[in-house]
Structures are given as C-alpha cells and as structure tokens.
Symmetry: D3
Subunit: 251 residues, 6 copies
C-alpha cells in the first residue's frame, strides 16, 4: 500500500534527474506520519516541466496511463499530482476511486484557514492569468490577494538557491506590504521542494505553504478518515464503462 | 484559405461516419457568408464522442497535432473547436495565432446579448457539474438560469430525431416555465447540427442557440475585423519556443 | 432592407456635420459583408453628444420616435445604437422585434472571448463610475481590468488626431502594464470611428475593439442566424399594446 | 421649503385622479416628522402608470423638466421619485444638488437591515427581469430571496382592495414559506399607498416595507444630517454647464 | 420611552469619563427629531475601548445584561449599539423585540445611497481585515472602495483634535484621489462624535458619514414606521424560551 | 503536549455528562495518528448547548478563560473549538499562538476538495440563516448547495439514534436528489460524534464529513507542518499587550 506522488513528466531523464526524484521521496517520507508508505514516480514519456497550458494538458493522459500501469503491480491508497497546476484533477478523479490530491487546491484551502487572503508566487509573468483563472475555478477569488511571478524557469530554480531565495524574498515583501496577503503559496512544486518555505516564513512573519507537504498531509488525512471523492460526482466515463463491461462479457 | 471546423475525434470511423462529417460541412457552408472557405476535418486517431472530463482532455493533444499537420498544406484563417466542451481552448490559443473559437464560449456570450439568463441542455446528468463549472470558468454565473440533461448519448442523438425532439422539447418547457430562462443553448455539437434548434425556438418563443452556427458567425466576424486573441495573453510556450529556436540555429 | 446605425443625437446639425455621418456610413459599408444594406441615420431633434446620464436618458425617446418614423418607409433588419452607453437598449428591445445592438454590450462580450480581462477608455473622469456601472449591469465585473478616461470631449476627439492618439496611446500603455488588461475597448463611438484602433493594437500587442465594427458584425451575425431577442423577455409594453388594440378596433 | 414627492406621470388626469394625489399627500403628512413640509406633485404631460422599461424611461425627462419648473417658485429640500423603478435616479442627482430618494433603493437598503434576505412583489410577470436587474444594479443580489408578481395592473390595484389583499397575501405566504425571505418589499408605489402593508406584516410575521414611507423617512434623515449625494460623484453634465456659463456671460 | 445609545464598555470609568458620555448624549439630543427621548448609557463592568475581535466579543454579553437591567425600569423604543463593530447585532436582535441599530451597518447602507463606492477609516492597521470582513458580512463588497487606518488609539482620538484632523484629512485625500471613493465612513464612534465629519466633508467634497448620527436617524425612522426586525428571523433562543416558560409555570 | 478538543460549554454537568465527554475523547484518540496526545475539556461555567447566536457568543469568553487556565499547567499544541459554529475563531487566534481549528471552517474546506457543492445539516429551522451566513463569512457561497435542519435539539440527538438516523437519512436523500450536493456536512458536533456519518455515506454514495474527525486531522496536519495562523493577521489585542507589558515592568 502506498501514497504515490506522481511527477507528471520525465524528471529522471531531465536536468534534475533521478537524484532529485529520490530527494523528493526522502523529503516526503520525512514529512509523513507513515514514511514507509510514500513513493515518488515520474512519467518517462512526459515533458520536462510545465510552464504553459499546452504543457499542462499534454501531461495529463500520459500521467493517467502511467498511473494505470502502476496500479497493476501496486496497491495505491492515494495520489498526489506533482504539479501546482493540478493537471487533470477531474480526469484522475473520474478514472480512479482513491483520493487524488491537487497541490494548488489543497494549499489554497489550507491558506484560507490561516488568514483572510493569500498570494501565489508563480513561475513566469506569462502564467499570471493561468494562476488567477485557477483560483477562480476553485471558487476562491474572494480570498486572493495577488499573484506574482519569480521569472526563473522551473528547471533553473534549484540551480542557485541564493538567487532563487533573493528573488522570492523580494516578492514576499511586496506581497506582505503592498498586497496585504496573510499567507503565501509557493506556486510550483520545485519551489515547494526547494527548502525555502520556512526561511521565507521567518522573514515575513506570515505562513508560507509548501504545496508538497500540504498535499501529503491532506492525503494522509483523507485516508485516515476513509474519505474520497464521490463516484456520483466524478463518475467513470459512461462510454468507457460500457466498453469494459462488454469486453469482460466476451472474455 | 479556410475556416476549419475541427471535430476533435474520429467521426469518419464512428457510427455517424464520413456522411455526417460532410453533412455538417454542407450545413456550415449554407450558413456561411463565404461558403467556399469552410472545411470540416476530424481527428482519425481520436475518440468517438466526448461525454466526460477524461474524454475531453484526451481529445486535445491529438487535435492540436492534427491541426498542426493541416497547417502544413493549407492556409488556415480560423478554427472552430467542434465540441461544446471547448476542449483545449487555451492550449490552441497558445499554439496558434489565428482565432480559435469555442462553441460554448461563443454561444454563451451571444445568449447574454439576447436576454437576461440562459439555460444549457447537456447530454447526461453526470455532466451537469461539468457544464456549471464551464459557465463559472467563463465568469458568467450571473447569467445562468439552469443546466438540464437530455440523457441520450451523443452517438444516439440523431438515431430517431422524433425521440430527441420530444425529450428536448420537454426540457425546454421546464427551462422556460420553471427556470425562467431567456435563451436556450444546445450544449452539444450533435444537438446543434440536429436541425431542431428552430423548431424548439418556435415552440418556446425564446431564442435557441445553435452552437455550430454561432461559432461560424463569430469566426467570420473576427476575420472580417482582423482580430484574434493576443499573443501576450496566450504566449507560445516559452520552453518550446526556445527549443524551436535552437533547432533552427542548428539547421 | 437595411441595417440601421442610429446616432442618437443631431450629428448633422452639430460640429461634425453631415460629412461625418456620411463618413461613418462609408466606413460601415467598407466593413460590411453586404455594403448595400447599411445606412446611418441621426436624430435631428437630439443633442450633440452624450457625456452624462442626463444626456444619455434624454436621447432615448427621441431616438425611439425617430426609429418608429423610419420604419414607416423602410424595412429594417437590425439597429445599432450609435453610442457606447447603449442608451435605451431594453427600451428599444421592448418596442421593436428586430435585433437591437448595444455597442458596449457587444464589444465587451467580444473582448471576453479574446482574453481574460478588458479595459475601457471612456471620455471624462466624471464618467468612470458610469462605465463601471455599465460593466456591472452586464454582469461582467469579473472580466474588467480597469476604466480610464482620455479627458477630451467627444466633439473634439477628431479635431487633432495626433493629440488624441498620443493621449490614447499613453492610456493604453498604462492599461497593458499597470492594469494587466488583455484587450482594450474604445468606449465612445467617435473614438471607434477615429481610425486609431489598429494603430493602438499594433503598439500594445493586445486586441483593440472598435465598437462600431463589432456591432456591425454582431448585427450581421444575428441576421444570418435568424435570431433576435425574445419578445417574452422584452414584451411590448402591455398597456400600450392594449391601447393600440382598442384603437384598431375603433378604426 | 418642502420635501417633494414627485409622481413621474399624470395622476391628476388618470383614473385615480387628483383625489388620489391628495390622499397620498395626506398620508405622507401623517407619516412625517414635519407634516407642513410635504408636498405631492405630478407631471401633467406624463403617462398614467409605469409597467415597462419604455414607460419608465419615457417618464424621466418630463419629470426632470417639471421639477426644474417647480424649483423656480419653491425652495425644495429633497425629492422622492414617486415610482418603485427609481426612474432616472442618476439623472436627477446630476441635475439637482438636494437629495433625490429612490423608493426601491431606500427600501431595499432598509430591508437589508431588518433581516438576511428580502423579496419584492412586482406588478406583472413581464417585469420580473426588470426587478431582478434593479436589485443587481444596486449590488444587492446577495440579499435577494425572490421576486414575485401580483399580475394586477397598477391602475386597478386600488379598485377592489379585497382582491388585491387576497392575491398579495397568497404571494406573501409563498415568499415566507418557499423563498424563506425575511422581509417583503411592496414593489410599486400604488401598492405602498394601498394601506395593506401592516395587514400583510401582521399575517406573515416579517417586516413589510412601504416604499413611500421608507423614502420619506430617508429624505427626512438626510436633511436632518445635512447630507446629500456628492457633486463629484454626480457632476452636473459638463457640456450643459459650459452652455449655461456662456449664456450667463452673454446676458 | 427612549432611544438608548448603549456604549458597550465603561466610558464613565475610563479616561474620557462621564463628561464625554454626557457630551455624546447632548449631541444626540441636538441631532434628534425628539430630543427628550434620547439617553446614553454605558456598561460599568465593560472594557474601555474596542480595538480587536477579543474586545469586541468580550463586550457583548455584559452589554446585553446591562440592557436587560435597564429594561426593568425604563420603556425602551430602540437601541443603538455604541461601537462601529456593531458588536452582537444578531445577539441583541434575538434577545430583544425593539429595533437594534448597528452603526456600521446603517452608515454603510446610507453611503450606498449617496454614491457608488465608500471607504472606511478604521483605528489600527491591525483592524483592516476586521473591517473588510464586516463589509463582506453585510454583503456589500461591491460597494467598498477601501479601508484605511488612522493609527491613533480610540482613547487618544480626542486628545488633540488638530492632530486627529490632520491625519484623517490626509487619509481622506488618498481615499478620494487614489481609491476613488464616493463617500467616507468614520469607522469608530469616537471619530463620529469628534465633530470632524463636516470639516472633512467640506475639504473633500464627498459625503462623510457620522455613524452616531446616521444610527439615530435610522432608529427614529424605524420607530416612526413601526418597524423592527422580524422575530421569525431573529427568534428568541428556543432553549431559553423553554426555560423561561417552565420558570413561569413553577411560579 | 496535547491537542485539546474544547467543548465550549458544560457537558459534564449536562444531560450527556462526563461519560459523553470521555466517549468523545476515546473516539478522537481512535481517529488520531498519535492517540496519547488528544484530550477533551469542557467549560464548567458554560451553557449546555448552542442553538442561537446568543448562546454562541455567550460561550466564547468563558471558553477563552478556560483555555488560558489550562495553558498554565499543560503544554498545548493545538485547539479544536468543539462547536460547529466555530464560536470565537478570530478571538482565540488573537489570544493564542498555537493553531485554533474551527470544525465548520475545516470541514467546509475539505468538502470543497471532494466535490463541487456541499450541503449542511443544521439543528433547527431557526438556524438556517446562521448557517448560510457562516458559509458566506468563509467566502464559500459558490460551493453551497443547501442548508437543511433536522429539528431535533442538540441534547436529544443521541437519545434515540434510530429516530435521528431516520430523519437525517431523509434529509440526505433530499440533499442528493433535490439540491444536487456532492458532499454532506454534519453541522453540529453531537451529530458528528453520533457515529452516523459512515452510515449516511454508504446510503447516499457521497462523502459525509464528520466535523470532529476532520478538525483533528487538520490540527495534526498543521502541527506536522509546523504551521499556524500568522500573528500579523491575528495580532494579540494592542491595548492588552500594553497592559501586560506595564504589569511585567512593575513586577
């Protein structure tokens, strides 16, 4: 049995490599109530990072397929989608019965419980609209203070942590003083796993949410309560269900 | 040069077949200000219909690829996404510069200009949430009267038009009398091409929007005004742009 | 048969004169799919421009009367209200069965389909509230980035196009950079007919909507689809209907 | 000095006649803190009742003109627009400096202070949209429980008060039990002056707001506090101001 | 019979003392249509001022008890809660049948009738969220321009009126020029009784609302109309009602 | 060290008694990742149940005092407010630094992550408005399907579990079929501890949230992530801070 953190792209073959994948698994185990259950997988035929709608959508079906494959040899309790865009949240919930966690959705709802308004730090200025639309999609506009971009590509965020910290720290100051936010979301999983969350939190004095850690906690919580999304709400696609049934009959 | 109506699935190989594809092309030409420009394509390696989030998302990348291929031998002016889910609207706008029309988005905005509130007729009860979320995504909750489902699969809508009309007509009565809508959207392209719109309009006395026809008009309008979505708003994915540039250099 | 663009005031007798009226008719014909159908009328007993609620409301009944008169000798297909305030939109829809186009309503809904948020350039600072209230009335607050005023009176906008362009261009820069809008609406018909829209579009890189041209396209689209507002939604005033009936009886 | 209740139509010449106008003046005096100050005027060249957008808009300019005329021989402290449509609220505020009271606006804001949600009883089913749009215009959708129509013409409401009461009472029961409203607004001035408000209030157990009386109280309150709408917010139309200035100069 | 203005704390024993309490009573009498009816009480066992959620909540039950006590020897017509936080508005309405006026609620609804958007001047930066949440609670976010803090403690506001005026005046300028508000609310009763409202109004040219005076007017208005909150909406707590009934039986 | 579940009233002295308090502690321990840390306390000088705004507000200060007292002899990690009204959530967060969990807030945000819309089952019809206002306060109106009341007093919910189950089950059916909710919240802690949640979940097929269990999970999650509300957002009341400082100085 396991909680799977699914990187919806090819981390192993990318610049961060297997080492980073293992480092994240190690961190998640450290954060977990039950370390032995956490596993990190990636999608070998996926992209290297997600910085546009195109890359987000392109990641979904390969990730669903990868997960289907994993379920064949492993009992899965819950899955965390390893990207702040929550790519395919509804799709995964239709296809699988176990809880599917969206890091953005979970950290936004957590932030709403720690203060009045939150801000999101995203990757590029070209993604500001995407981020605002995501908050709107989750019905949380009322709680949004601002979205600001760090303008460092995902695959360079961990290159020089000092540079990343300085830029992030500058944004955080504006978020607190100009946007009057009560919490900060690190709006990218590589930011969340950068280890900078607690440093920024100390500096600003407001909660900084690590989306990876928040997702893990929500997964563990749901499992502990034996809760998942309803299959009435997210039904398995009717046409596929029919096909599968007919296949079984014939078999 | 052409306005392409892109069925994001394999209609030719499905139960409706090439005949239906050609019938739709004929209808679009009939509706057009400039018939010679309209063409209908489908996606041979796509699914047969879209009745879930999974099928919607699965249709996008093959449809983008298909369109890229078509652009190699054809000058395209504008594209209509041939599904009321507007699958991949943002993705297509990132990838292409010419106008991309979402039938739901266009018919919803048209409906808002003909009355105060509109209702949508969707396929299955299991899709009511999907439809409501789409209206919310477009920021038009204020104008939504209701979503109701006809509960006939897409691929059976044209089987017996009398049955379809009776069911649709019953829903339309409820929409007018109980939900007090001022306009009705046929929330599926096969409904829109069923030829029932004007019949329902006559019966209810409120405008009934044919999403295919509405989309064609909006495409023609944008072209006539030399307007498209901004590439600042929908930038070509930065990482891909870089890769393409490097490729060119090396070549 | 004709699409009438109705200037709700006395342009012929004002500083711009018949020449400007004819110039606009010429432009509309140039923009049209069917030039022979477009006609521009004004309201001889109307005001010279609309820059306040008072002037907006004062324009409506004379414009309705003028249109009634025109219908006596001309078959009208659709009417465009020639003012960005959409003065009397609901009134005209009650009184007439053919489509009535509001340039603000149409260009706002068009803008929503080209990007996430739009900004409006209005005439005076004293009209900022009016413009914001109009966006709210149409239920589109979610899509509004900002309203900014050019502070040049309507009747001086065409005096020195360089001055107008410079001021408009400055506002457009702020709209793009500070307000992060994805589209710009020229919030006055004289601005729309100034010929500056494409120049501003080129400069800013985001779509600039010419409300006159957008309205023409929407009128042509509705006619092509045989659609109009429902008379259930906008019923002819019951008391007047009764009076007319009684008159006919007596006659 | 006086608080003027301005019927925006020709009551004297209509079926209710001068008697009704005087009866309303008598009631307002009875309700007033300062009876000697209240006066009721109508607009001799106006319509007989307002039951559509057309009639509402048509009433405004004659009513403004009538008021301008009255100001020539009478010092006016405040004006109540004698129609629940608040016809021309913004226009009157631009043209005059003293407080202009909209009965709908005032009774809606009063209702919000007596409970969570209110319902409006309007005249015809054809006016339900108009009423809902008015609530939206005032930014109070959050507080609206429902709008329901009595379907008795304005000019017949006082014909047989028993009939009117029975119909109103039936609606009120639905409003309380089905719509769960906390207050009822009589959405027409003739309803408000019918004397049925307190009877319905006793029957339902929730506050019933008489828009005439509420408006009088708000007028008296503003005067007592020396408050009015800001002329920055509702500036006198700039073009008219210029014309008037030039006229004075020449004189 | 009397309108009671209830200071929900111990003013008599605090730095402002009985003198200030009497000064406020004098002002309210001066403002009243019926001076002999107005009385000011405080809560001897209450706090000295309210500048946090804790102090606001802590004030409620002692204030309810104090009011219950007063009702034993005095007929009360209406009560004004003497704090801009409207502490315990729902609680008081459950416990008492006569109108309970919340100064913030009343002045916000009044402001909405004098212009499009209002701003609130609150005490501390630490209270900005509290103020914004209050506006949201009353469903008036649409009408909020901004909240700004004067950062002078309540108990020092009257110390040096020149200092207070200068700071308030500076904020008011920003409110008009940067936040584009149409009205200003003095968001603290001590500000409202400072006598600075009309001075700020003259300086800014937009209405400035004195929450004490506005509340008095609303109390007088409701009494004059024989209106109060419904006891269906704010029922006396069922369990307490039962206990009281049983007590009576036994007695 | 401990997670304290604080019943904000006198359970020990009430009809349910110490037995029920211990039963709840047992359940919380069973549900916990770390059973030894969970403790349940009540407030001996508090009321017996909360079924009105009055009782809710009356519970807060005694509960704050009780908690202050407990902190003197026990290290507390986090506190769960043991009432679905989340009484005093902001107050507790001002007064204490460790996480304060509101069961309604937490279960609402959890529900939003399991489906599109949720419904709440509350105690009395007289509390429907209270419940709707709470959802609005948390900015989640968009996600609310309905509130329905079971109309069994809190202190009788556990009397006959069959009766309670039957009524709850009937409501749940309406919630699924008429209100189209995707999740159900048991809107009272006694309901949450009744053991009926999983039974209703099985019957309806949609997630049923036990607010006690959800709160425990959120408390454990926050502690595991070393997160709490920001003290900038919820500052200790400035006046009290000053007093405490002065006290210390003198001591």
């Amino acid at each position: 049995m396991s909680i799977v953190y699914l990187v919806p792209g090819n981390m192993t073959g990318g610049p961060y490599g297997l080492k980073e994948l293992k480092r994240r698994e190690k961190l998640l185990k450290d954060w977990s109530f039950n370390p032995s259950k956490v596993k990190v997988y990636d999608v070998p035929n996926g992209g290297s990072s997600i910085e546009s709608s195109y890359e987000e959508i392109a990641s979904i079906i390969p990730a669903v397929d990868r997960l289907s494959e994993i379920t064949k040899y492993e009992n899965i309790d819950a899955v965390i989608l390893g990207c702040f865009g929550d790519p395919g949240l509804d799709v995964f919930r239709e296809m699988f019965d176990f809880p599917i966690i969206g890091p953005a959705q979970t950290s936004m709802h957590t932030a709403c419980q720690l203060g009045h308004k939150f801000s999101v730090i995203t990757i590029f200025d070209s993604m500001l609209n995407m981020a605002e639309k995501q908050v709107h999609e989750y019905g949380l506009d009322h709680h949004l203070a601002s979205v600001r971009a760090i303008n460092i590509p995902v695959l360079e965020l961990l290159k020089d942590l000092d540079v990343t910290y300085k830029k992030m720290s500058k944004l955080a100051d504006k978020i607190v003083n100009e946007d009057r936010a009560d919490a900060i979301l690190l709006g990218c999983m590589t930011m969340s796993f950068s280890g900078l969350d607690k440093k920024i939190e100390k500096k600003t004095g407001i909660p900084v949410l690590n989306a990876g850690r928040t997702s893990l906690k929500f997964a563990e919580s749901l499992l502990s309560m034996d809760l998942s999304h309803s299959k009435i709400t997210y039904p398995f696609p009717p046409k596929l269900a029919k096909t599968q049934k007919e296949k079984k009959k014939r078999a």
